[in-house]
Symmetry: C2
Subunit: 390 residues, 2 copies
Amino acid sequence: MNARDNLSDSLPSCKFEVPEIIFGRGMLRQVGACACRMGGKKIMLVSDKGLFNAGWVDSVMSSLLEAGLEFAYFDGITTNPKDNEVIEGLREYIRLGCDVIVGLGGGSVMDAAKAIAILVSNGGKIQDFEGHGKIIRPLPPLVLCPTTCGTGSDISQFAIITDTERHCKITIMSRCVAPDISLTDPDTLSTLPDEYVCTTAIDALSHAIEAFFSIASTSLTDVHATRALHLLTTSLVPAVRERRPQDMQKLAQASLHAGMAFSNSLLGIVHALAHPIGGLYDANHGSINAILLPEVLRFDIPAVTEKLQELSCSMGHRADGGVNALGDQIQETLESMLEACGAPRSLRSIGVRRQDLPELARRALDDICIVTSPRVAAQEDLLGILQRAY
Amino acid sequence: MNARDNLSDSLPSCKFEVPEIIFGRGMLRQVGACACRMGGKKIMLVSDKGLFNAGWVDSVMSSLLEAGLEFAYFDGITTNPKDNEVIEGLREYIRLGCDVIVGLGGGSVMDAAKAIAILVSNGGKIQDFEGHGKIIRPLPPLVLCPTTCGTGSDISQFAIITDTERHCKITIMSRCVAPDISLTDPDTLSTLPDEYVCTTAIDALSHAIEAFFSIASTSLTDVHATRALHLLTTSLVPAVRERRPQDMQKLAQASLHAGMAFSNSLLGIVHALAHPIGGLYDANHGSINAILLPEVLRFDIPAVTEKLQELSCSMGHRADGGVNALGDQIQETLESMLEACGAPRSLRSIGVRRQDLPELARRALDDICIVTSPRVAAQEDLLGILQRAY
């Protein structure tokens, strides 16, 4: 049996949309030209202190100046970006008369940049846009430059913001939320702290697997999901251990491919559960995914048997066995990768309280990511997954 | 050795851009909504008599009317669209006060729609825009709906127009030339005449192979090129022979994937030679490609040895052999596919004159597609290819 015989060739009705993509070492120098091409005169640059100290914010500022642009700098964003931080960013944008937003950072910075852009043109409060397709007016031009190995926010039609009153994350999904330009300079990964290499790459791994299993996946998304999986299988562990530039660059590529896949096929139970957990505990998103992924995979596999061969092949296996053997192989490969990276393996270890599990399962049912899960999950199924991952 | 070990993972500096993609049976009904979303009030619908007689033009007109849009209809386009036909289209666009162009057809209709759009906003004559990056002003919104199994014009940054004075084709390449929306309704293939199924699918096959070998190929384009090759290897011959809808739909998908690849990685010698031949003889583009492809592949293979394993794998082989065995396997698969489709196999058979070969080789050196050939070709190399294909 040839490993590609069972390629998932189906392409039912679908839409596929990705921003303009720019990728390459030294490409941060192009940010000014990109902002200029978007019609910008005064740019709001959103980033964080870590990137400022590492010198990357300076690189972008130089590029903006060289393009003859003025800019304002905003760094009031924390991990799991909060609604009040978005409001603060909005005030700065208006006060300084900006017209284009450049986001340089990880998922938190980029999601916050998106949320600021939503409020700039749509008004109201960020909670008004929770769910799918609530955004009426087009956003100001957005150029997003990822500096971690995951998130995919530079590609995606999602923004995730923490509601500080309700202690939950709200998921905003709209084609308007995708940026105009996704610009990746993999050199920025050289200064990413060790713990973020692992957790953000595992976020990309979850994106790839959930996108591939999604009921909205198509041939157009599958090619990117499987390429991301291939890149992650070969480079995640060496990148985390040795941080060689060529492996880090592969993680940046994997993040891009995974983003192209999941932005168009959406996600599943891992993310539906990770959002309420992140909202309640302010915990690291990649760590939560690492803990949930093996259990969700176990739950999903019976519903996606026809896709296991291609998945296994993309992970470097010969993929010759029957469905059970394939499932076991995938599960083992995933678990040994997570183990070798030193990823956290239990919800308890990241501070989740056992008594919160039923409420977390309930909230996951309201998350938009649950809609494309390959296997329909009731609240007790979700609770079971949480308990096994505890 | 695992078939995916040698995946071409490199992603040097690159740009990747594709239009919004809509794909699915019955999607022609969405054209009106798309044109509306582009801000259209009066649509110029460009198509041809074959599609009118088959009823597809009516479907689009109904969709436009349902969306409350006015439209003008233009069908003055022939195969290998001519500069004077473009001028005629431009006059109609201006005379009737249109604001959005919808192209429904094969490569000729879509390239003509693009050329009309170029002149609408940039003025001058179409020859002024030959080459790369000559277009200054953005085009009016373009929605392109392919109705053949090839071309990729609905995705690409290319438009190819025949210069009737110089009897040659001019290649226009610019990011501005890519449409806003690519909308494929595979049902339209049900009325495509038999001979076009074969020749347009072979055009897509050439796009996939040349995109994969191109020196500008990246991981982002390779995933689409290899998926196109997989789809074509499994469905081209049965589609040509039996025309089952599921095989035809796979050809439509393959065309889409191949278009996403080559629009971003560009092409090679097959197309660099096919353009002058098409310009001089008004011959069918897919037939020319079918004749040239085996000879160009033979010429290219020594320069792309590291990519043969992935190519062979995408064509359904186990890909276990050495470089020579892989090359032979690919060559044989390709030739037997072309043979089984009844594709023309010699330049002589399509009316090319032997005494024109040196001039055709010379003109190919000026075609923009030669730039990304994986193997540098001198005029005598090109002449050799033409002579062997004669």
